[in-house]
Amino acid sequence: MLQTARAVLEKDFRIELRTRDAISAALVFSILVLVVFNFALDVNTPEMRRLAAGFFWVAFAFAGTLALDRSFALEKESGAGRALALAPVDAGGIYLGKCAANAAFLFITQLVALPLFVIFFDVSIQRAGALAASFALGSIAFAAVGTLFSAVAANTRMRGLLLPILFLPLSVPALIASVETTSFALGNAEGPSFWFTLLVVYDVVFLTASVLVFEYVLEES
């Protein structure tokens, strides 16, 4: 299973290195959302600075759907999805590989967007370790549900349009926990242990559930 996962992960990384589609789209989109927030609300006040983590994760929740949608739209376009389904390998492994690739893309996008975010919102990073953990666990949470639903949405007539509709309501706990932990890392919130635990539980629950059901999704592609 892990071997399959690694092969899929390597394949997705190679595609991403050549095209840079997912990361650049998500990055540009998240910067756009941050800029739009700046116009919609006057963000350079102390009260708004306290809410900076919220703006950041909202930008990512939407930008993430772009990268996640791409993940299986790509397989669908080239007919590679069917090839993956026919390959005599474990479906759970394919899921884990795709999920790891997506989580890595989201994480990289966040790291690249972080300096811009710090400049735009004038925030200071108080706890770098907590920030890294928040980004990593949050990326895994979004990728865990997003990868599964990207595969589901790719098999419908609506394609990518259905992904945010299915994915955003389910990611509510992950979004709240990510905002709270990032807020803690920026020195704007206390008591992060519950939220870190919730993120870990969310990751474990959805990774396990997705590994178990992914074979059903894959055979329909």
């Binding site: 098999n155 419908t156 309501p169 709270e180 969310y202 959805f206 559930a209 059901v213 999704v217």
Partner: protein, 235 residues
């Protein structure tokens, strides 16, 4: 024709319990001292919410059964339960603010139960939308079952996240939440009403399911006729 007998049983129970519930709500249950007569919304709001939740639990159960057996009958049941569940959740979300406005002075508060109801509504709207956009019946059933299962797994996580979030962020204080020392007459009325709405749920679920059963029966008949016709053309 056991289904027919069962339907008659459900319908008659629905009629009896609903009449009893309405009589108890308006004639027997005392008028609440603080909220006044508006509090009687409670007797439809709460049973609707509980049965909506029952509906989504049924979606989870039948989705699971579908994936393990691949019997389309479970898919039809999951669909029917989801539709009635969404209807009931919609009614909960409509009656809730109508009750909250005169009593608390606000239409909406991001309280754990309210928010969970709203998120559930969005998840199952997504479930029903997904079903509309897949043509192949088998693919529709499988993908919907996957969403039905993961959507329900999310419920406790959403609940705990919002509950904890609420304790950290100041919220409007709401006095006299549900169940805080319910008067015995009110409790009795609530239970009869819960029974009535459970029968309403089962009756609507059964009617909706009948349509699906009929639809698939006609589809298989037509497919068989078409296959026979094609065979006739070929020979």
């Amino acid at each position: 024709m056991s289904r027919c007998k069962f339907a008659i049983f459900i319908d008659s129970m629905l009629f009896i319990t609903m009449a009893a519930a309405m009589a108890m709500i308006f004639l027997y249950a005392p008028i609440e001292s603080e909220m006044g007569i508006v509090q009687k919304i409670f007797y439809v709001h709460v049973p609707l919410a509980w049965n909506a939740f029952l509906g989504f639990a049924m979606v989870f159960y039948y989705s699971f059964r579908y994936l393990s057996t691949r019997n389309p009958r479970y898919d039809r049941r999951a669909l029917s339960a989801a539709e009635v569940g969404v209807l009931f959740t919609t009614l909960v979300l409509i009656t809730g603010p109508i009750w909250a406005k005169p009593v608390w002075g606000i239409w909406w508060t991001w309280d754990a139960r309210l928010t969970l109801t709203l998120v559930l509504w969005l998840i199952y709207i997504g479930y029903l939308m997904l079903r509309r956009y897949i043509e192949s019946p088998e693919r529709r059933a499988v993908l919907a079952a996957v969403v039905g299962i993961t959507g329900f797994i999310d419920v406790p996580l959403v609940y705990f996240a919002i509950r904890w979030w609420r304790t950290q962020h100041p919220q409007p204080v709401i006095a006299g939440g549900e169940g805080s020392g319910l008067d015995p007459a009110m409790a009795a009325t609530l239970w009869v009403s819960v029974a009535a709405f459970t029968f309403l749920f089962l009756a609507l679920f059964g009617r909706r399911l009948d349509v699906e059963v009929e639809r698939s029966r006609r589809e298989t008949e037509r497919d068989a006729a078409e296959a026979a016709h094609a065979q006739g053309v070929r020979t």
